[in-house]
């Protein structure tokens, strides 16, 4: 069953053709690949640092832009066509879209770690097209209905909430634990909010920008911290140890927080994060910055830290994220600072790239 049978229907798309070269293209309306697929009319798409990075640098790690791709992966939309075996959604239903569909056959997929599947088709990770088109095709079990009282912008923000849910899952966050989150960008503040929602007794946000700390205070953090800058000539490791000690003292964290979530990727934060974690505590690396850093490994060893990486999301993260937003526990609307029409997509990307302090989450409306 198809909602729109207009033969003139097209699929305007925002395409990254080569590094720093974006353009609008009119592509064919995509077809369902099998009986489990659905076609989504995309309603809203948030912009992520990774989208900007592919645009400016053309690669992240082993993912290299070799041919044009449609950008965008944080989307919501309306189901307009369903395959014959689809049971979980109907035409007309409003959904949040999980943009990475794994192969379902490999060892990772079969053991519950589908975020690690080597053959994942991930929107806007080369060579796969993203969601900044009128229509997007995805397997139905990677779409999640959102309730009527959730709008499409909130639906698009489910993706970064799901990232935060995965980070706390990897951290094995328990009720009544203390948590320090480095970074008060979208992922950082969402981690703070998720940790609070999951019963953390104390959540402290750390950032170098005061306005971001102010927002974090009003969002999910119990306390915020602006680390002092190092004096010239001071060894960065020594400085990190000092900052860690300051953090523990200022907020009465005793031997340190139970959990540290590193959401900046910045080397000084990584170092401070390891120094501040209590003995036997858990440190999760979520932020991406320099690929190789100076890491206080002996401290990690002596203090028996659990150090883990977190990437994307796994089973249950999207439903949990929808629930956190739908129940009002996390007010994602407050993260949106700028809105653009589809035709203004390039300006939206330029705005995110400029990195101004008052720009937080930017969303692009879908093709009407």
């Amino acid at each position: 069953m198809i909602m729109k049978t207009d033969e003139q229907d097209s699929n305007p798309s925002f395409v990254l053709r080569a590094i720093k070269d974006v353009a609008f293209e009119d592509r064919a309306v995509p077809k369902l690949r099998d009986e489990h697929d659905v076609r989504i009319h995309i309603a809203q798409t948030g912009i992520c640092g990774s989208d900007v990075h592919y645009w400016q640098r053309g690669r992240i790690g082993d993912f290299i832009l070799n041919s044009p791709i449609v950008l965008g992966h944080e989307s919501s939309g309306t189901v307009v066509e369903v395959g014959s075996a689809v049971k979980n959604v109907k035409v007309g239903q409003r959904v949040a879209v999980e943009p990475g569909v794994p192969c379902r056959f490999c060892g990772y997929c079969r053991s519950g770690q589908y975020n690690l599947c080597n053959d994942t088709i991930f929107a806007a990770t080369p060579p796969w097209d993203g969601t900044l088109s009128k229509y997007y095709i995805v397997a139905s079990d990677y779409t999640y209905p959102i309730p009527d009282h959730m709008n499409m912008e909130e639906g698009a923000l489910v993706e970064p909430v799901a990232v935060a849910v995965q980070i706390t899952k990897v951290a094995d966050l328990r009720a009544n634990q203390t948590v320090v989150v480095f970074g008060c960008g979208p992922i950082g503040v969402l981690c703070q909010a998720v940790a609070k929602a999951y019963g953390a007794s104390r959540v402290i946000g750390v950032d170098a920008v005061q306005s971001r700390l102010d927002f974090a205070s009003s969002f999910g953090a119990d306390d915020v911290f602006l680390p002092p800058k190092p004096e010239s000539g001071v060894d960065p490791i020594e400085h990190a140890e000092r900052v860690a000690a300051l953090l523990k003292e200022k907020f009465n964290l005793g031997e340190g927080p139970d959990v540290v979530l590193e959401c900046t990727g910045a080397e000084p934060c990584i170092q401070t994060g390891v120094f501040v974690t209590k003995k036997g505590g858990t440190y999760v690396q979520a932020g991406m910055g320099k690929e190789v850093v100076a890491f206080p490994i002996t401290t990690a060893c002596i203090r028996a830290l659990n150090i883990k990486g977190s990437i994307r999301y796994t089973t249950g993260c999207y439903p949990a994220a929808v629930d956190l937003v739908a129940s009002g526990k996390i007010d994602v609307k407050r993260l949106i600072t700028n809105r653009f029409k589809f035709e203004e997509a390039e300006q939206a990307f330029e705005l995110v790239k400029a990195g101004k302090q008052d720009v937080f989450k930017v969303v692009i409306e879908g093709v009407q």
Binding site: R104, F105, R110, G112, D141, T315
Partner: protein, 385 residues
């Protein structure tokens, strides 16, 4: 090869030719049958039947020429009772699910196995899309299609299709007979995973049938230092002792608490065992299993008997036991089984009591029903005269 005497075709043999005239022919030899199958027609009635060779369902599927099939209590149960729980035999169904074979055809996108590969066959195909599947517990998939669980046909046929990731290549050093034992071994691997057996622990296994014995073997491979086999049958226990158990105990008519106390005393289990596995399904064993554990111990229910029993819930609560179920196998269990046998840490050859020809399948079922031997294998359909 050579002058083999062909056994006379049984009276129950029915052959359906695939081209007209569709008359029953009683003198056809095996060579003209495409896919001879051993079918449970209805409760108590089995027959041989020729069926079409199955087609590959997708580009990721393979066609396997089945070579050996072991018989499980569940196969016998469907034959005798026509149902297990809510799974009811409503139409004729091919039996068997513990098989190994040789790949004879592969779909276009198959990349992990090839024609000619000798494989152990994992007979349950999950949907891959539900929450349980994506969470790594595909044995709990609500849309599981399991061989010889109605209405899905089993592997006692000449050919069977499977997705490539449910076929596990056997190294040259592992025989196809051993390959057919991978299924019950994977059950044992899954149980010990549920039990979370750690090196140095003590384990009591109730029931010394194939699953119980394999649990003992896996526990031993995982470093358990005391493995107690309990059964009513002394012969099975003697075998268990020669196989993998460090201690054996014969069940007696006594209360479950007394039984547990006796096991603890006779086997020097201190405050109680770390782990108890029930592979019998028998109510007295389940009760004794709870009582034989130390505080904080782990109990795993693997055996299937009465659906509802009298359970020592007071002891379970007061001793803060971890009580879990175990059902079939999931991600990694088959691979682990092949590795355990390949490396010699577990040996399965000893469990094979007998091998029968495909056309003698019914006698094999009767033997299992009479609890003769440990594991009886049915050979695959022979190719030609």
């Amino acid at each position: 090869m050579g002058q083999e005497v062909r056994p006379p075709l049984p009276d129950c043999l029915l052959i359906y030719p695939t081209t007209p005239p569709y008359a029953l022919e009683r003198d056809e030899t095996l060579t003209t049958m495409q896919n001879l199958s051993f079918v449970l027609e209805k409760t108590g009635v089995v027959k041989f039947e020729d069926r079409p060779v199955p087609k590959l369902a997708s580009d990721y599927d393979v066609l396997v020429n089945v070579k050996f099939t072991g018989i499980c209590g569940s196969d016998v149960h469907y034959w005798q009772h026509g149902a297990i729980g809510s799974f009811i035999v409503k139409a004729p169904m091919v039996l068997g699910h513990e098989s190994s074979g040789i790949i004879t055809a592969v779909g276009d996108k198959v990349s992990t196995v090839k024609v000619g590969d000798r494989v152990a066959m994992e007979p349950g195909i999950p949907c891959r899309r539900c929450i349980r599947c994506k969470d790594g517990k595909y044995n709990l998939c609500v849309d599981m299609r399991f061989a010889a669980t109605p209405p899905i046909d089993g592997t006692l046929a000449k050919y069977y299709t499977l997705p490539e990731d449910f076929c596990y290549k056997l190294p040259e050093s592992v025989s196809l007979e051993e390959g057919a034992l991978m299924e019950p071994l994977a059950v044992g691997v899954h149980i010990t995973r549920q039990a979370n057996i750690q090196p140095g622990q003590s384990v009591v296994v109730f029931g010394s049938g194939p699953v119980g014995l394999l649990c003992c073997a896996v526990a031993k491979a995982y470093g358990a230092n005391k493995i107690v086999a309990v059964d009513i049958n002394k012969e099975r226990l003697d075998f268990a002792k020669s196989y993998a158990a460090t201690d054996i105990v014969v069940s007696q008519r006594e209360s479950a608490a007394d039984s547990a106390a006796r096991i603890i005393k006779d086997c020097d289990l201190g405050h109680g065992a770390d782990v108890a596995i029930d592979a019998s399904g028998a109510e007295p064993c389940i009760q004794a299993g709870i009582h034989v554990l130390r505080t904080g111990g782990t109990y795993v229910q693997a055996g299937m008997g009465k659906s509802d029993i009298t359970f020592p819930i007071g002891a379970m609560g007061a001793k803060e036991l971890n009580v879990k179920g175990s059902f079939r196998y999931s991600s990694g269990d088959y691979r682990t089984s092949v590795d355990l046998v390949t490396s010699g840490r577990v040996s399965v050859k000893e469990l094979i009591s007998n091998k029968v020809k495909f056309l003698d399948a019914e006698t094999a079922f009767n033997d299992v029903k009479a609890a003769k031997g440990i594991k009886v294998l049915i050979e695959g359909v022979e190719d030609s005269a």
